[in-house]
Symmetry: C2
Subunit: 151 residues, 2 copies
């Protein structure tokens, strides 16, 4: 009876993290030309669908804390991709909206996301890609993964 100490690569979590980090880093490099980070892309894509989102709601949607959203929004405002407006109905509240420049940029960034995904997963068949997606979605469901910024 030897005490077994499992290898790093014995865990699915290890492989998932390894592959995921490479996909994200590859995407981040593509976004770098447009001076946008992955987190900024996610926020912008959300604001593209739903114009005028409160920072606290955006935080909930993309799983960041409110403090983190403030910093992220500050950066996007510096780049003139997003604007902050007072909420007419609630004196405490703010509303985040894409600027014209920001809105025009989203389709370009979406194309970069498409390219990145297509290139990275090109070696899988359509069936394998569907299978992988279903598996990941099941893991999300069955582990009850929620986007919950602890705040």
């Amino acid at each position: 009876m030897t005490a077994r100490v499992s290898d790093l690569d014995a865990h699915l979590g290890y492989w998932l993290r390894f592959v995921s980090n490479h996909v994200s880093q590859s995407f981040a490099r593509r976004l770098q030309d447009r001076d946008v980070t992955v987190a900024e892309w996610v926020a912008m894509r959300r604001l593209f669908d739903e114009a005028g989102v409160a920072p606290s709601l955006l935080a909930e949607r993309i799983g960041m804390t409110r403090g983190a959203i403030t910093k992220l929004a500050d950066r996007l405002i510096d780049k003139e991709l997003v604007a902050r407006r007072p909420d007419p109905q609630d004196g405490r509240a703010q509303i985040l909206v894409l600027t014209a420049r920001g809105r025009a940029l989203v389709p370009e960034l979406a194309a970069l996301a498409d390219d990145n995904d297509a290139e990275f997963f090109r070696s899988l068949t359509a069936q394998e890609r569907r299978g992988l997606r279903r598996l990941l979605e099941r893991l999300v469901d069955q582990n009850e993964l929620k986007i919950v910024p602890v705040d």
Copy 2:
């Protein structure tokens, strides 16, 4: 012809990142009780197999820059889990080794990694787990993913 702007969840990279982040965060929480981060665990697990590794080699093995390894080693040394020794053969070189405490801790951390993986992927059948692993390994091979710290 409408210009299609793909959704965030249209990409496999999105799901991979979402699931991977949850697995890693869950593991990080388990490690927190032992005051160890995921990156620290990876370094310690490497040093467990291969006693006396040069920082530059460790950097290569786990995909961090040399500067990052120095900082990580500093933290582990503060916690008395790792020691730094001069290389007798090369006056410039250093060697990193686990302390007795560090060595004793590795099997406990490995057990936490096992638990985390088992819990997270419990809803998959053994066959699905094998399939997922094979798919991830194929993506690593076919995208020629290497552990390369740009330095």
